[in-house]
């Protein structure tokens, strides 16, 4: 198994290197490197998965990495059912999205660069999942962040794209700061960063306060990476990246790293119950908060972005109430239907020559049949209509919340489910059906996307349909999925009756119906969609003014402060490219370099002064 495991990251790494070094030569043939690399990686993951289902696990070092006294860390891979599932999702969905990209990015100037980054991302993500200790996890946690930054700003000529990349990077830094501190705290507490050893040593001998601190610091990192309140602001802006990137990184895989990390370290979280409570509540609040914003957005990708934030909230809520398998199950199904929705949206955007505004869409279903059908499947999956995957996984989380006594949280999540059904079918009705609001030119060009793009859509739609039935049917011993993860997570309770599923279906159907009443029953005009009807609508349209708030509280004061510094310390500064403290240091530098007069005399004098000072100092000390 050892060799098989290392093959998984090896293929995308080789793909990255080949495309990075020979990208100029390869140019528009880059997908011939990148896509097979992912395919091979997926096959390796599948082989590993089969072995793991046979009960095998693997933990092994590639090599000793850092050894400083008692601080020893190796490049360790750990494969257990949890990582096997994640590997399968990352490489499988990754493969489909790579395939799709070959069509979507066709003709882009940075074609080879795109696949270089994309392969690099998959490599980093695979390593993140494989990591067998916290340090390696952290390294690749940062690496996927870097890839995300590079890909959001892929079209760096666009100011908004490079700004969005920067925003993602900076907001993530806030979370990663806590994450880093959390890992350091783990090290000082347990004296090791190895998963196995840390979890084995996590017993009552360490105070609850320490566990709480560790858990909350780790969760801070998860909040940044998985765009949870209050660090969610970067994800909607990240939609500036190419759509396959949004599908792969900002929906299916990277943003779920936070959920994975919390599930992976659940032993630590469980030692501090209050931290789990916080995780659940942050997740629940985010779920509703983001869903409500999604209700009114007019950019198709932004709706999906808020939807992603909201669904990540569900996962955290699930993990927070102790239903780890349910949270991870939702992660998997979400990867399917959200990737599907993003790719479908990408296909629509592609068909409309780049149009992303819902106000300028409508009635394109007849001209893009495959896209329309698969998109509706994805939407139904997200809304949680039975028997699609989203129904089963969301239901698991809702049921867990209800049965663990989190009634308020349950109601909150239920409200979120209603909104989810509403906003996604609002998109369906506005974009695919109803009256056409396309510009004349766009209407003329509407076309179905090539097979290289629609085949991944069909595969993902198929997965959305069958995944729930295949893996999520509850039985006396939990679902098939939770049984598979049983070696990693504590056993969950058995089936919980029919009340919760029934309520959730009713709520979802109600949401769909309301969307139909408002947007599907009769044609709507662009003004009706966009113009705020009341204060609440306006509040949602402005995303609760969180960006404005951060701008006012953090960004602008910081700029004001640095502007003030610049004016005050701007003495004799030649290089104007630095601000704040940088200017101060450069001003020093300019002063200090004048000491270097160029005259031998002065140099010799300096040396003499130094020698005298040293001798005087030593003599004074010896006294």
């Amino acid at each position: 198994m050892a060799r098989l495991v290392w093959l998984i990251p090896l293929f995308p790494l080789v793909g990255t290197l080949v495309n990075a070094l020979f990208g100029r030569v390869i140019g528009h043939r880059a997908h011939w490197i990148a896509v097979p690399a992912l395919g091979a990686s997926f096959l390796a993951s599948y082989a590993v998965f089969v072995r793991v289902s046979g009960g095998e696990t693997y933990t092994g070092d590639l090599f000793q990495w850092i050894a400083a006294g008692s601080f020893q860390t190796a490049i360790t891979a750990q494969v257990d059912p949890l990582s096997a599932v994640m590997l399968l999702v990352v490489t499988g969905v990754g493969f489909l999205i790579h395939l799709y990209s070959a069509g979507y990015m066709h003709g882009d100037d940075g074609y080879a660069r795109f696949f270089t980054y994309l392969n690099l991302f998959v490599f980093s993500m695979v390593m993140l999942v494989l990591a067998g200790n916290f340090l390696l996890l952290y390294v690749f946690w940062e690496a996927v962040g870097l890839c995300s930054y590079l890909l959001i700003g892929f079209w760096y000529q666009k100011q908004s794209a490079s700004d969005a990349g920067k925003k993602a990077f900076i907001v993530n830094r806030v979370g990663d700061f806590g994450f880093g501190l959390g890992i350091m705290l783990i090290w000082t507490t347990f004296g090791t960063l190895d998963y196995g050893e840390v979890f084995a040593r996590a017993d009552a001998s360490v105070s609850v306060a320490t566990y709480t601190a560790i858990a909350l610091l780790l969760f801070m990192g998860a909040c940044g990476k998985s765009a949870q309140l209050p660090l969610h602001t970067w994800l909607p802006d990240a939609m500036e990246g190419p759509t396959p990137v949004s599908a792969l990184i900002h929906a299916a895989t990277m943003v779920t790293a936070g959920v994975y990390m919390v599930a992976r370290s659940h032993k630590l979280f469980e030692m501090a119950p209050v931290s789990l409570e916080i995780v659940a509540w942050v997740g629940g609040l985010t779920a509703v908060f983001a869903a409500s914003i999604g209700l009114v957005q007019t950019d198709i990708k932004r709706v999906l972005a808020y939807s992603t934030i909201s669904q990540l909230g569900y996962m955290f809520a699930g993990v927070g109430v102790g239903a780890y398998a349910a949270g991870i199950f939702h992660l998997v199904t979400h990867a399917f239907f959200k990737a599907l929705l993003f790719l479908g949206a990408g296909s629509v955007i592609h068909g409309l020559s780049g149009e992303q505004d819902l106000r300028k869409m409508g009635a394109i279903a007849p001209r893009m049949r495959v896209t329309a059908v698969t998109f509706v499947v994805g939407a139904a999956g997200l809304a949680g209509l039975p028997p699609l995957a989203g129904f089963f996984s969301k239901d698991e989380i809702l049921a867990a919340a209800a049965s663990e006594g989190h009634t308020l949280l349950f109601l909150l999540l239920l409200a979120g489910a209603f909104m989810t059904a509403f906003y996604i079918f609002r998109v369906v009705f506005l974009a695919l059906f109803g009256a056409s609001r396309l510009s004349h030119e766009a209407a003329h060009h509407v076309h179905e996307s090539p097979a290289v793009m629609t085949v991944p859509l069909a595969v993902l739609a198929g997965l959305t349909v069958v995944a729930g039935l295949a893996l999520g049917l509850p039985s006396a011993h939990g679902t098939a999925f939770s049984r598979f993860l049983a070696p990693v997570f504590p056993a969950e309770e058995a089936a919980r009756g029919l009340a919760v599923p029934l309520v959730s279906v009713v709520v979802a159907v109600a949401g769909v119906l309301l969307a139909w009443l408002m947007y599907g029953r009769r044609p709507v005009t662009a003004e009706e969609i966009a113009v705020p009807k009341n204060a609440l609508h306006s509040l949602l349209l402005h995303k609760y003014y969180v960006d404005e708030l951060y701008d006012a509280v953090f960004v602008r004061p910081l700029f004001a402060l640095s502007g003030w510094c610049a004016r005050v310390f701007d003495l004799g500064v030649i290089d104007g490219a630095v601000n704040g403290i940088g200017r101060l240091v450069v001003a020093w530098a300019q002063g200090l370099r004048r000491v270097q007069t160029g005259f031998v005399m002065n140099y010799a004098l300096g040396m003499l002064a130094g020698a005298v000072a040293i001798v005087a100092f030593l003599l004074a000390r010896a006294r």
Binding site: F63, Q64, W65, I66, A67, A68, G69, V139, I574, D575, V578, G582, V585, V586, W588, A589, Q590, L592, R593, V595, Q596, G598, V600, N602, Y603, A604, G606, M607, A609, G610, A611, A613, I614, V615, F617, L618, L619, R621, A622
Partner: protein, 481 residues
């Protein structure tokens, strides 16, 4: 009776010296004006010397009445010096011809300076350190002014020589005073005398202070650093690389041996002194580097700052700190030789491209070179997974472990300041559009080979440092006995 001569103990140095003498003869043979073969023979000598060092690995002996030591410490430094010299030879071949200054003596002088360096690394006696220092320095003084007829070269040579000789004066007088206080210049016997109470003798203290001044010059520590920028700027770039890597490593080797083997019993006294020197060097070097527009000058200040970082390890002392110093010097050799190697390949309007602005747009025209340079720069900043990160990690880690937390904090803050000016070069390469005529890359096979070796070193030591760290720490052990 003649004293017993142990060729074994000086074999690596002898290999270099013999090669240099061979080159003196070969240089007399008529050739078609090319001197490449001399560099190749010189390189063979360097490789031979490194192989001898590896072959002698594990020995621990004293020879020539304790004047010369053959131990892991000396052998480790022989390897560092070997790498530095070899890289410089490779870098020089085409560079000198391009500048119209090719001549056999260049390679001979490089080899003789390497002989001096190995002598310093294996010295067990102050006077041998002095001799090694002078052999090395005298060669370097000449090499610094190699581009005869250029005002900068002459100035660099003259400044280096006058100030170097001035520093030697301090150094030698320091030796004389220590001799006066202890009755010997042998490090072992000085150690005995110091442990026996000579530590409070003002003669010894003054002598030690003067000795530190001499060392401070060679390692370019503040306040003995002022020559550095001018000499680095004026000297031929490959010679600058040699001064920055080999001569600095040799000086640190001798300094470390004096401190750890002769003065270990009074460590608290000198640790405070070097604490101050480290802080001054790091801070002044980094701050002044911020304001430089000439890359060679900038790297000169950067090397002053790096001397400060290395002094952090000296302060920490022991196997941890000493090992950190050795490892960092190896890292620094690869990184710095690589960085100067990149610059030496660039030309603009027929002159050497050494201004920061000359780098503008380099990434689009020469992506591989730009990437290579970026790796070296990132290693200088100390960003993982480059060697510079691991090196700094162990230096500062040793300081923390031995209780010098503030020193480590100052070091880390300094690294942050330093990031600015290194990354500025990367910004220029990748994000600025060139103005005027473009900077061209002058292809050179040997220099490419040198860069590949340096790059290998930086990546290898950054990704898989453990075996080399073990070597470095084991190398310090003989000093601590």
């Amino acid at each position: 009776m003649l004293p017993l001569i142990s060729f074994r103990a000086i074999a690596p140095g002898m290999a270099l010296a013999a090669t240099a003498c061979l080159l003196l003869l070969l240089d007399l043979l008529p050739t078609r004006g090319r001197k490449d073969h001399l560099a190749v023979v010189g390189l063979a000598g360097v490789v031979l010397s490194m192989i001898l060092s590896l072959g002698l690995w594990g020995s621990d002996e004293r020879a020539f009445n304790g004047m010369v030591r053959l131990d892991g410490f000396a052998l480790f430094f022989n390897l560092v010096i070997g790498f530095a010299t070899g890289l410089v030879l490779l870098l020089s071949i085409d560079y000198l011809r391009r500048q119209g200054m090719e001549s056999g003596e260049f390679y001979i002088l490089v080899l003789f300076s390497a002989v001096g360096m190995t002598l310093m690394a294996g010295a067990g006696d102050l006077i041998v350190i002095f001799l090694g220092l002078e052999v090395m320095s005298l060669s370097l003084y000449v090499l610094a002014g190699w581009f005869e007829g250029r005002l900068e070269a002459g100035e660099a040579s003259m400044k280096y020589f006058l100030l170097g000789a001035f520093a030697s004066g301090f150094f030698l007088y320091g030796i004389a005073l220590i001799f006066g206080a202890t009755g010997s210049t042998n490090l072992d016997r000085i150690a005995v005398a110091v442990a026996g109470g000579a530590a409070r003798d003002p003669l010894l203290i003054i002598g030690f202070g003067l000795l530190v001044a001499g060392f401070g010059f060679k390692i370019s520590s503040v306040p003995f650093h002022m020559w550095t920028a001018d000499v680095y700027q004026g000297a031929p770039t490959s010679v600058t690389a040699l001064i920055a890597t080999g001569s600095k490593a040799a000086a640190f080797a001798a300094l470390l041996r004096v401190l750890l083997s002769a003065l270990r019993t009074v460590q608290p006294d000198w640790a405070v002194l070097f604490w101050g020197l480290a802080v001054l060097s790091m801070t002044a070097g980094n701050v002044v580097a911020l304001a430089q527009q000439n890359i060679k000058r900038m790297l000169a200040y950067s090397s002053i700052a790096h001397a400060g970082y290395i002094l952090v390890g000296v302060v920490a002392g022991g196997a941890l700190g000493g090992g950190g110093v050795l490892f960092y010097l190896l890292v620094y050799t690869f990184t710095t030789a690589g960085a100067f190697g990149v610059i030496l390949l660039l030309e603009r309007d027929g002159r050497e491209a050494v201004a920061v602005s000359d780098l503008a747009g380099l990434a689009t025209r020469h992506p591989v070179l730009a990437l290579t340079f970026s790796v070296f720069l990132l290693s200088l900043v100390g960003i993982p997974p480059t060697a510079g990160f691991v090196g700094k990690f162990y230096l500062f880690g040793a300081a923390v472990r031995t209780g010098y937390v503030w020193l480590a904090v100052i070091g880390v803050v300094n690294s942050a300041i330093a990031a600015y000016y290194y990354l500025r070069l990367i910004v220029f390469m990748y994000m600025r559009e060139p103005e005027g005529s473009p900077t061209v890359l002058v292809p050179s096979l040997p220099a490419g080979l040198a860069l590949a070796v340096a790059l290998w070193g930086v990546v290898q030591l950054g990704v898989l440092p453990a075996p080399f760290l073990d070597l470095a720490q084991a190398a310090v052990i003989p000093l601590l006995r």
